[in-house]
Symmetry: C2
Subunit: 208 residues, 2 copies
Amino acid sequence: MPNYTLYYFSGKGGGGKAEICRMLFVAGNQKYEDRRIEVNEWDTYKGQMPGSVLPILEIDSKVQIPQNMAIARYLAREFGYHGRNNIEQARVDYISDNFHEIHNDFIRFDYEKDPSKARELRHVYEETCRKVLPFMEDTLKMNYGGDGWFIGDKMLMCDMMCHSALENPLLHNNNLLKTFPKLESLRRRVKNQPELAEYFKRHKDIRI
Amino acid sequence: MPNYTLYYFSGKGGGGKAEICRMLFVAGNQKYEDRRIEVNEWDTYKGQMPGSVLPILEIDSKVQIPQNMAIARYLAREFGYHGRNNIEQARVDYISDNFHEIHNDFIRFDYEKDPSKARELRHVYEETCRKVLPFMEDTLKMNYGGDGWFIGDKMLMCDMMCHSALENPLLHNNNLLKTFPKLESLRRRVKNQPELAEYFKRHKDIRI
């Protein structure tokens, strides 16, 4: 098995950009180093990271992969969470990409310090939620009436994305899923998977 | 081989959301129906499309896949443009996702009618270009000094993304790649691939 190191910023909170990658490592029972960069270390590390961005997945100290969703799909394929054939992979991808849109738009508005820019970016984020959440609720209902996983009989990357991508948006607005009960209970099923339940318990303060 | 129908809006211009999918069909010499929806037909089709969005790829009149990048990755795997192993696929993905960020941010600002919102979204788009383009130029230079493809000796989906994702941004600002000569010449290499050259010649007005 390769040696994996996942680099991301240190901090408190839940559901940052690297969280889906950590969930895949944990669910797949795979060893990895969860390397957190402190603010005062970033100047040292910045030049070593492709594109000067985080998260980065380093494989065997030689290959470095940026872009959280590219990393997540790599890990999902490696550990069996990306579907059994090309069509299933496409379905995992489109569901995951929808949740990623919400997460990405949330982070943009949440990180923006200028109040007038933040207002516009919040509008963009809310519009994305308005389009994506009903679509995802309906998609989930197409498999076992929404009482199982998105696809087939096994938790896949797209189910974990429903958890990780919505974690920060839910901290901001805990009514976000009020009218989407199937998504809400899917998040509980993901959270209660034994390995993930144990991980969430251990790391409740540092999952950015 | 399955029957493929790609649904997208009709219109003039270059490099819309479905273009990377069409380029993959064309480069791979694969038959597909390029179904364009006119504005006055959209009310009829809207309810039949998952999430009421386009593009949609329909496979054998039964499976429908939304999200242009999920469609593109499916086609890239199917036709051999997604790399030879999982690490190459991760590299194709992170490069493609970077170009997708530029394209997505461009479309958002370009489609926004409210001038104050468009100003903020333009700022977001320009910031994305400022981060992504130098990174992509450097990444390209790591393989044959930037005079070949992004990875190995074969054009892959990420090379085609450098073409399709930057087409509209270049119509808006034809100096965009002035300081990125390797990306500029990569786009020419992609465009001059025989199947693609013929396609661009035939469809120069309708490639949205």
